[in-house]
């Protein structure tokens, strides 16, 4: 029984959480593993915001170098490593785009090249996403679209107003009300 338990422990795959904690102790092998595990997912996130392969890789470079330096800033009690990394990549990508006035030269990703599945369909198929799927479905399509665009494309209030034709104030209040609906639903 004891041997069996040890065997299972050894075979358990490393998670982003455990790897990040090892990075905080200066384990460079764990950092490489964390990169292998998370970089493809994070590059997709950066790519949707920057719409440039080169800029998305610059974003990943900056974030990973910072993660290695500041891994101790990750507090597992405040949430998982994956959302922590996603947030860092999204914020850095949005910062880069906003500093460039969203007019980054050399944009090289066409909308048609994106082969991501429909987000709602994906959420429904995966255990982690089902609650979010159910709650997003409590919003009408226009409201759901605002939340999705802000998260995935890094759109600002002004971008959303321009893209949807809604007044800026309406965009802000709609998003705030939608967040409240989502929060209450996700708390259930």
């Amino acid at each position: 029984m004891g041997e069996r338990a040890v065997h299972l422990q050894k075979d358990m795959p490393e998670t982003a959480d455990s790897l990040l904690c090892r990075c905080a102790a200066g384990d460079s092998a764990a950092f490489r593993q964390l990169y292998e595990l998370e970089a493809p997912r994070l590059k997709a996130v950066a790519l949707r915001i920057t719409r440039s392969v080169a800029v998305a890789e610059d974003v990943l470079h900056d974030v990973f170098v910072k993660v290695w330096r500041d891994a101790a800033g990750f507090d597992p009690e405040r949430g998982g490593a994956r959302p922590w990394l996603t947030t860092k990549v999204r914020f850095r990508a949005m910062e880069v785009m906003r500093r460039a006035g969203r007019e980054m030269p050399g944009l090289d990703l066409a909308e048609s090249e994106d082969d991501s599945p429909d987000a709602l369909a994906y959420l429904l198929r995966h255990a982690d996403g089902r609650a979010l799927h159910a709650c997003l479905c409590e919003l009408d399509e226009a409201k759901r679209d605002l939340i999705h665009r802000a998260f995935i494309k890094g759109d600002t209030h002004a971008d959303l107003a321009a893209e949807t034709g809604m007044p800026l104030g309406t965009v802000k209040s709609t998003i705030r009300r939608s967040l409240l609906v989502l929060r209450r639903c996700l708390d259930r």
Partner: protein
């Protein structure tokens, strides 16, 4: 702020909808407001499946080489991960700095033009504990000076003065940079500007000589590197 308001603010923060100054203020506030920090963690975790819905994109081979080339040596990276420093940062932001420190006063000179040009290397937005609005901005400019620009009127009560402190990595304790004028100014900052360096303005009794420990925090923030 009600729980609902914190939830909405945290949601807007995680979605990336806030302006840079407001987002920095929220991040600062979350260091001392556990309810706000929990709300941010909630949104990060619950919205994260949206990121998973994107098809993964393998990075190029060159990317890891670039990252590896820019990694600090293990010893240097770990040696900076001192719990005491983290604790000071949180405590400073909570206005309760207790650590003893040796102060060095450097002359505080007023600049003719308080707003620097684009040559600044790092900046921090300083907000009062509990406030979401930055009251002042400090910038480390290429000449090695730290320039303070008030974003709101900095009111100094009778018999009090405001002092500017920073805790660069090279120092064992916070360093007094000088006394703050209500209309801003500049002081030498003989340290390499680094991301995350704590900067704070404290409330001190006027005419009491050089303080050896910072007084209560009026405004605090962390340096971010400009790119």
């Amino acid at each position: 702020m009600s729980r609902d308001e914190k939830d909405m603010l945290a949601g807007e923060y995680v979605l990336g909808l806030l302006g840079a100054a407001e987002a920095a203020a929220v991040a600062l506030e979350a260091e001392t407001d556990s309810e706000l920090a929990s709300a941010i963690a909630f949104w990060q975790a619950r919205l994260d499946p949206l990121a998973d819905s994107l098809a993964p994109v393998p990075p190029t081979r060159q990317l890891w080489a670039r990252i590896a080339a820019d990694m600090e040596p293990v010893a240097a990276a770990v040696s900076r991960r001192k719990p005491a420093r983290q604790a000071w940062r949180s405590t400073a932001i909570a206005s309760l700095l207790l650590a003893a420190c040796l102060a060095v006063v450097i002359g505080w000179q007023r600049l003719g033009a308080p707003a620097p040009g684009p040559a600044f290397k790092a900046e921090a937005l300083l907000a009062a504990p509990g406030s979401f609005v930055a009251s002042a901005r400090v910038q480390v400019v290429s000449s090695g000076a730290m320039v303070l620009v008030p974003l709101q009127k900095l009111v100094v009560p009778e018999g009090r003065q405001m002092d500017l402190w920073a805790w660069p990595r090279e120092e064992k304790a916070p360093v007094l940079l000088g006394t703050v004028r209500a209309d801003g100014g500049a002081t030498p900052f003989p340290y390499p500007p680094r991301e995350g360096t704590p900067v704070m303005i404290t409330d001190e009794k006027a005419g009491m000589g050089v303080p050896t420990t910072p007084g209560p925090t009026l405004y605090a923030g962390l340096l971010t590197i400009s790119r």
